[in-house]
Symmetry: C2
Subunit: 141 residues, 2 copies
């Protein structure tokens, strides 16, 4: 049951000043064919700074690192504390130059390992189909 | 650069007849606190049936396994062929019983390893903000 799976970085995040890019390693260039047809991509990266047994054992957090928000299970959040350190973020493509995808913004630290990219299709349900809590998104504490 | 990261299953998909559930392993129960506040969750699972060096080396596919669709890089698709076999799907929560989350439907095979769950917040952009190709979603070939 406790089989483990292996993830390899397929690229790296650049996020410094005006340089906001997802750089895919050259050996994966073919995997980008047709990505220019999309306005947005989903970028999956690895919260590598938390990749310690302790970091991966935290199961509850105050969302948005804000103590005003109720203690919540990490599976009910997008917290960088979780058993498998997969981050998911949606980015708008600004430009593509070979294996380098400039995006509008990304919530990843500079140097974060990219582990997957998926094309983004907008949701089909109406906004009224969704229910979610109103957390305070100001970071504190 | 070719560091590898380790993923451990945090649960399993049940998808047989009327039993459509994401079952989280008991040691992660605390990570579910508050998930009932959401109508939808993102379920990340592992395409374990393709976890071979050959399966992970395929970089281009015809989307939806339909030869009518143009050859496309896997990063521009949600194909189960990709370097890191991470699947992402959105599910509506129907019921929660302890560590067992019944969902409306899931596009995963019965027995697929679940590797992460994230709460779902609906998108903030208008539908007109998105651009994407119109693939034929009928499965063929």
């Amino acid at each position: 049951m406790q089989t483990a799976y292996n993830i390899v970085p397929i690229g790296i995040v650049h996020n410094k000043d005006d340089d906001v890019r997802v750089e895919v390693y050259p050996q994966y260039e073919k995997a980008l064919l047709g990505i220019e047809q999309f306005s947005h991509i989903l970028v999956l990266y690895w919260f590598d700074e938390n990749d310690t047994p302790e970091g991966r054992s935290i199961l509850q957090v105050h969302p948005c690192s804000n103590p005003k928000n109720p203690l919540t299970g990490v599976f009910a959040t997008h917290s960088p504390r979780r058993p498998n350190l997969i981050a998911l973020t949606k980015c708008r493509i600004v430009a593509i130059d070979g294996t380098s995808i400039t995006v509008d913004r990304i919530d990843a630290y500079d140097g974060s390992p990219v582990i997957d990219i998926k094309s983004y299709f907008p949701e089909e349900e109406a906004a009224s189909d969704y229910r979610f809590p109103e957390w305070d998104r100001n970071k504190e504490g």
